[in-house]
């Protein structure tokens, strides 16, 4: 269950992000992630652990939305982009070349955060 540790890392980043907005208190509705298929992350497990971890915290009620990014590689022989398949040992179908250059699929990224300010501070009036 390394998704628990990944969730801890995610919460640390979100806490840092919240601190940058002080004294305003952001109220988060959605955290958007990009998770590649060529990673060791199971998106459903991440959503589950996130839901459990944020209970009772400032993130309670927020939702984790995961966009899956497919594995794509570039064949270094003919430059064409292909989708590597395990059944084919990840080789390129065009030239039967091993998977050398990964174009996408290794993403583990916090893409964006949707939020409002629940205690929007009044603008400071200059004298």
């Amino acid at each position: 269950m390394h998704e628990v540790d990944m969730t801890k890392c995610l919460l640390l980043s979100l806490n840092e992000w919240k601190a940058q907005h002080q004294p305003n208190e952001p109220e988060v509705s959605v955290v958007h992630l990009e998770v590649g298929t060529f990673t060791c992350v199971e998106p459903d497990a991440l959503v589950f652990t996130f839901g459990a971890a944020v209970q009772g915290s400032w993130l309670a009620g927020s939702e984790l939305r995961i966009e899956t990014v497919p594995l794509r590689a570039r064949c270094v022989r003919c430059e064409s982009i292909y989708i590597p398949e395990q059944e084919n040992a990840y080789r390129s179908p065009c030239c039967d070349h091993p998977m050398e250059e990964i174009v996408s699929g290794r993403e583990l990224r916090i893409r964006s955060i949707d939020y409002v300010f629940s205690n929007q501070a009044l603008p400071v009036l200059s004298p």
Partner: protein, 247 residues
Amino acid sequence: MHRPLEDTLGINLLAANQHRAEHNREHFDAWRLLCINVMSSPGAGKTSLLERTITALAPRLEMAVLEGDMTTQLDAQRLEAVGVPVVPITTGRACHLDASMVSGGLKLLQQRLDPAALDLLWVENVGNLVCPAEFEVGEHLKVALLSVTEGDDKPLKYPVMFREADCVLITKIDLLPYLPVQVERFVEHVQQVNPRARVFLLSASSGEGLGAWHQWLLEQVAERQLASDSGPEPTTNVQPFPALVSR
């Protein structure tokens, strides 16, 4: 009125671990040592190999081990017995080491010795082919072991681990005569998911193939010391060697 806002971050999910790993690496570079993260499934032979390798290289290199183990200190005791300083890191239920656990291990190590006197620091990870691949600890090189008894399909089933490795060791080759496997298939499958990996075939039990692996380690330590002397880390981690197989 509450205006919905959106902040685009684009930061790594594991940024918190990444920052600590980079911090560890800065220490390693300041100490002029090479740190190698050793990973494999349970029972692939990490500890047996380290016993042999540390014994063989002890006259040439100063070494220490950070030993990850879920609940016991059995592996740490085995390695202490070959005469090298070992700091056990019991991870509890966590199935991998992360950068902060290694940082804790380094503090304990510093109580026993000056790390600047070391040439090579081994981090023996928890036996697991999944999680350790995603959690950097600050290592310069990742070495993955695959024993011939595990089956040649493992690089295809656990591709991220073998893709991330700088070097893959096919171990227990002394057992090949008793197994219905072809060692070429292991190498082929590793090179399909990672054509850049350096591959060695060896047996910690018979000693076959250890010479080439040890030679490679000595070269890596020398290269690292040169790199540490010439200032900040270059940004590329592309390995300069071609995909060679040594036996």
